[in-house]
């Protein structure tokens, strides 16, 4: 069964139709790469999934539960949106780490705040916090930053910051982890270390949606690829289908342009 279903999603900014009826689904453990030129709506789609933008039409279904329906205001109440967005994690292009917290504090802040809402929190505060901290350390260890737990973001390189951001998103154990061009703000020599972490997540069957300009990476890591252009999904399929044997002219043109510029 698919863990995520997106049905006829539409979003407009003023007169501009950024998403014009997006349909796709994603299975548990799959990684989906979304490619396309700038302005094609990839990032907006990701922001809709994370409730940072409100779609004008359509539905989003996670694990069979309708978590957003543009026609049903009861799915859009703020208090519930907060809980529902926890199905998703988001790694931003510009990291957006909290500058006043160390790497470990960045990772454990949100889980600690959420733990405070548990009914038995006051009684078991210390054990909750110990557990969260241990988990945070494990996650930073997984992204190769064991020796940077106490470092503040400005002391880290872009690649290290992005790896902290990935650990931070993983800390809440989202069903679906989203990446919004995770290496676009990095110097070329730093993209490798971030891609390596994402690849390791894919190998452990983390369900992911990755918006990326790294075509070789998308081809080798993703289980499925979506090519978007001007707010619609032009083509989707396995990496072999989309990259190796694109059916649509627009996909061929995009991939040819990409090859030329590299």
């Amino acid at each position: 069964m698919s863990i995520l279903e997106v049905i006829q999603l539409e979003k407009r900014f003023g007169g501009l139709e950024v998403l014009q009826g997006i349909d796709f689904s994603l299975n548990q453990g799959e990684s989906l790469a979304i490619i396309g030129s700038s302005g094609s709506g990839k990032t907006t789609l990701l922001r809709c999934l994370n409730f940072l933008e409100r779609p004008d039409k359509g539905r989003i279904i996670v694990n069979g539960q309708v978590i957003f329906d543009a026609d049903d205001p009861s799915t859009q109440r703020e208090g519930e949106v907060r809980k529902k967005r926890l199905h998703f994690g988001l790694v931003f292009q510009s990291f957006n780490l909290f500058p006043q917290y160390t790497a470990l504090q960045n990772v454990v802040l949100a889980p600690k705040l959420l733990a405070k809402e548990l009914p038995d929190f006051t009684k078991n505060k210390q054990s909750y916090f110990n557990e969260i901290e241990a988990h945070g350390r494990t996650l930073l260890d997984q992204v190769g930053l064991t020796d940077k737990l106490g470092a503040y973001p400005h002391m880290l390189s872009g690649g290290q910051q992005q790896r902290v951001a990935i650990a931070r998103a993983l800390a809440l154990e989202p069903d679906i982890l989203c990446f919004d061009e995770p290496t676009s703000a990095l110097d070329p020599e730093l993209t490798g270390e971030v891609l390596k972490v994402i690849r390791a997540l894919a190998n452990r069957n983390t369900t992911m949606v990755i918006v990326t300009h790294e075509m070789d990476f998308a081809r080798s890591v993703a289980d499925r690829v979506i090519f978007m252009d001007e707010g619609v999904i032009v083509e989707q399929g396995t990496p072999e289908e989309v990259f190796g044997n694109p059916k649509e002219e627009r996909t061929r043109q995009f991939l040819a342009r990409y090859k030329e510029s590299n």
Partner: protein, 220 residues
């Protein structure tokens, strides 16, 4: 010269009024300024419009004039409200005028600080399931404080010297006290008041430098 100790003592005593006005203004204008800042950022036009107009009027007219209007206004306009008599009334009116005036200046510093935080900080908090108050308290507040420290230091230093404007409604602050000697033909007490302000501002400058240094552990 036999007058010297007496003059110093009277100048020092009168400077206490400057200090009290300074402290009370800070104490009340900072929270009020935060409320005004939130009002001027409100998405509701019927809140934002009047608040911004009010800030424009207060920042657009001399504080000296505001002191006069606030002190004499109620009597001249036959309002049912009046200031208490004597020194208490004069000082209270001065405090109210200073608090309103400085709240408006602080509000613009706060607004600038709050609006300078990149939207990515709020969004990162949101996708991590934080509530709006949590994002404000745990994520943005300290960054705002760090950013507003230098302009706030400026404002606080200006306030020290502005307190002497309270003499316009006959508060016996240090310059008014020195002026009494000037009227008797003795000019140096007026010059000496500069030392009081200079020392006070010096202490505040050191204090602000310390706070800024404390906040130096992160970059924002």
């Amino acid at each position: 010269m036999t007058q010297l100790p007496m003059i110093i003592q009277r100048l020092s005593e009168s400077f206490i009024l400057n200090g009290k006005l300074f402290a009370l203004t800070l104490l009340f204008s900072i929270p009020l300024g935060l409320i005004v800042a939130l009002g001027s950022m409100s998405r509701y036009k019927f809140v934002q419009g009047p608040v911004r107009t009010f800030v424009w009027i207060i920042r657009g007219t001399p504080l000296m004039l505001q002191l006069i209007i606030i002190f004499f206004g109620p009597g001249l306009l036959d309002l049912p409200f009046s200031w208490p008599g004597g020194d208490t009334g004069r000082f209270t009116a001065a405090t109210v005028a200073f608090v309103i005036n400085y709240a408006c200046y602080f509000s613009e510093i706060f607004r600038g600080g709050i609006q300078s935080i990149p939207s990515g900080q709020y969004e990162a908090g949101q996708v991590l399931g934080m509530t709006k108050p949590q994002i404000f308290l745990k994520v943005t507040l300290l960054q705002v404080i760090k950013r507003i420290m230098p302009p706030s230091g400026n404002e606080v230093i200006t306030l020290v010297k502005d307190t002497s404007l309270a003499r316009i409604i006959s508060n016996k602050e240090i310059i008014m006290m020195a002026g009494e000697y000037t009227n008797q033909g003795l000019i140096w007490p007026l010059f000496a008041t500069g030392i009081y302000f200079l020392v006070f501002v010096g202490i505040l400058t050191l204090l602000f430098a310390r706070i800024e240094k404390k906040l130096d552990f992160f970059k924002a």
